[in-house]
Symmetry: C2
Subunit: 251 residues, 2 copies
Amino acid sequence: MARIARVQARRYPCEKCPLRTLEIFRRFGRRELEFVSRFKTGELVAEPGTTILAEGSHSAHLYTALSGWGFRYKLLEDGRRQILNVVLPGDFVGLQGALMSQMQHSVEALSTMLLCVFERERLWEIFRDYSHLAFDITWLAAREEQFLDEHLLNVGQRTAEERVAFLLLFLFSRAEARGLTRGATVEIPFTQQHIADTLGLSLVHTNRTLNRLARRGLIAWNQRTLRLVDRKALSALAGWHDLTEENRPYI
Amino acid sequence: MARIARVQARRYPCEKCPLRTLEIFRRFGRRELEFVSRFKTGELVAEPGTTILAEGSHSAHLYTALSGWGFRYKLLEDGRRQILNVVLPGDFVGLQGALMSQMQHSVEALSTMLLCVFERERLWEIFRDYSHLAFDITWLAAREEQFLDEHLLNVGQRTAEERVAFLLLFLFSRAEARGLTRGATVEIPFTQQHIADTLGLSLVHTNRTLNRLARRGLIAWNQRTLRLVDRKALSALAGWHDLTEENRPYI
DNA sequence: CGCTTACTTGAGTCTGGTCAAACGGGGTGG
DNA sequence: CCACCCCGTTTGACCAGACTCAAGTAAGCG
């Protein structure tokens, strides 16, 4: 059975939130900061492989990822798994579960994650008293929808090679905006099985496709480290257009 | 070139909104009704095939569909098209475009559609003064995200037969909740090409798959009319679980 | 050192794609 | 009224991208 993540005492005060220094995130005012500070009830450390939110459950919490990598996914009865998106620092997790009766997807940690914990009960206070923050939450939901649109286009219409290229550029760009890259290199705690389950490909075919891209001098993928050897060519192959992640809100 | 839909003078007052009678939609209070009534600036009639919102544009409007069928989609440079979702009465359209700098997908009418027109400029007023409505908008965004999650799971993990079965059940259920079905029958203004572009299949294979399902006595599909001959068997094939669309908000 | 997990590679198969042609109904203009 | 055309659907033949099965390698860890 999957291990479950564990809540721990709060450490970072919101005023010193590690996300605050990244320029992709918008800053917020004193009043909002004070509220979020009270809204936050603790921190969660999730070890790799632990389930943060489970499909079918009705979690009492909402989270904002502070560090580490995770992913959202859905399962079919027979075990087929579709990875829906990665969860990166600044991502708000569990909104669906807070608005609907239960979670329709699960969230699992890929690397050790640190998350901010909020009470779902108090979500309504945000809408009532902090319209700016409510707006931000809606913005984040719309943004996630955009990513899903892109992802669906990718899986539905592109060839295996294009799909892999697109996904790698997507992951790299999101990591880059959070300062997780060094030059053309990122460490992505994905196995090839994760890539396969994200793209709707088999593990074997994913492996062959990655190796083909590597042999053609577009990428290098070793020990979960991705290097974009020829970003231009890769972008052309994938039909990639840069993301604009500036001024992203977070809660 | 695609024809563009045309705005026309307002006809239905919000108090007599045709959606109001459908029990899947939640009712709202006097004060909200008044506001929405002022928020609404007119109505749009879109003929089949017209573009309501175009990718890359920065529309000044937001819409709520009142009647008819439409669909959201994205295109690749070479013309490959991915249909992201259908637009049905009660669906809120254009939120992404209102929050972000531009639309990342297009919306086209399948049948003649009637839409409520709102000014995007005034979206902020909702968040500032009508937190209940703001909450509803967020709910709708989260709901759309859920549909996309399901759709991605479908396209990424299921076989052609399962995909088709799932899509037909999805379309039927959503239509059913809006009173658009008669018994086990719905008229869906989709061509087989639309189904193919929704599921990431070729037209030919979609046709063969539909016929195979028909010959097996699960469905009937003629002149854009779908009949669920054996809904139970179809659901089993698709791994379908019923939607709960009750108490859905709308603006 | 043995076990486990992830990655690789080969061989054979099949689901689903492509190309091409034909069918059928509805609309239109001569 | 008929011929033609257009659009959507259908069918056949062939092809290939991606899958499955299977076995082997490499790296990390207790």
